[in-house]
Amino acid sequence: MSIRGKAFIAGIYEHPRREIPDRTLTQIHAEVALGAVADAGLTLSDVDGYFCDSTVPGMGGISMVDYLGLQCSYLDNTETGGSSYLGHVGHAATAIAAGKCSVALVTLAGKPRSSRGGPRGGGGGGGGVDAPPETSFEGLWGLAGAPYNYALAAQRHMYEFGTTSEQLAEIKVAASIHAQYNPHALMPNVVTVEEVLASPMISDPLHRLDCCVITDGGGAVVVVSPEVAHSLDRQTVKILGHGEAQKHAMNGRVDLTYSGAVWSGPRAFEEAGVTQADIDYASIYDSFTITVLEQIEDLGFCEKGQGGRFVLDGALVAPHGKLPFNTDGGGLCNNHPANRGGMTKVLEAVRQVRGEAHPAVQVPDCNIVLAHGTGGALSTRMGSATLILGREDA
């Protein structure tokens, strides 16, 4: 596939000012975004792909998507210095040609002139005027570290659906059953529901054993063309589908009971042409037990609110559970390198398709698998990404 003739530039806008001390970086990104979509005869509501570099305050453009109230199926934060935006146009054309989005927005903003001779901004306490725009409204309440946001989600899920701490603990137990077979697992011991509930409360209702491990480490993946794949002796794994989404605070309509997986999942299933019933194994992001529970619901493996019941009776335990998950022991027991569990989710999914998981947890006839990642703060400012992979003949 080539991008030739598959995408067109429809709107442009250059900020008219050359010294802008009275705007935040976020505001300048917003102003040029409004200008460019207006030039195209479109509105921001039409935008479903967003491309930016590191001049956007916040994590990977998600703060900007939140600020502008966008709902994007495609987000690209490639940072290559001054060449970024040319790259972004090419990436946008590739994404459009592949059907991943139809209206892509690329923005740049900076204030090197008005910030000469001192630190940027100067607004005091919470990081200056060019801190991510939500900072003073979300960063001052003592929520240092990841568990607290997930605890807020768990508390609400329990309130709305009757989910219990025992049900959440079952997720940790399943991961620990798998971890005992992984010689590299940080926490290779099998734990019980009682042990999870007896571990210290970190942030109600999450206990220490509801949390993932903290580990150094890393991982890598190589993706190749069909021609290269066929030339290799190594068994390769086919990429069948992919979906992405961001979920943000939605202009104050915060709902902590679901995640961006409700959008990324269907995009991946549709592209792959498979359904939940076809999934033999799932790598599900497991920063906390509640993360797994909400993703299982959001990805459609059970009805919303039924996750607590779904995970009972060894449903997640390989090889014969209803939905064998995280057979490497997951982030909950094995590895969560760099506090980012998405890479290891891909790796174990590949091992399952290759038949290279530990024999005790290898899913028989593992043909089609799903890997799902969650980033940022669950349900309030997050990225979701879903991959569906399969055997070469899948």
Binding site: A30, V129, L140, G142, L152
Partner: protein
Amino acid sequence: MTANPLPVPAPSPNFDTQEFWDAAAQGKFLLKRCDSCGVIIWYPRFVCPDCHSTDTSWFEGSGKGTIYTYTIVRKGQGPYKDAAPFVVAYVELEEGPRILTNIVECDPESVSIGQAVEVVFQDAGDGAALYRFRPTET
């Protein structure tokens, strides 16, 4: 059990939020409304995230709401190192938006979802103030 006093970190006003924080220092909880579609905009910004109009106006909110969800933080970090246990919550304002904040002036163990709360302002130094919420007297 009574709650420990919480640190009062100073907010960082910017060109979107200066009016909000100036009003907070005067004991007023401002909200922004989109003049085009009428939605309340939270957090405050110059462009409406719903309809993308830039016509917006400030008005004084009721400062009242109910708890949407909460957690009791058992181990604080940074400026909150000695503050635990303390409560972080999303409060659903009467006007609609669900906003992150602390629940203060109460026993953390007494907090519950659905509880009525009202805004209080705490001195953050240098003429600044931070909003938090406390259970409404019944």
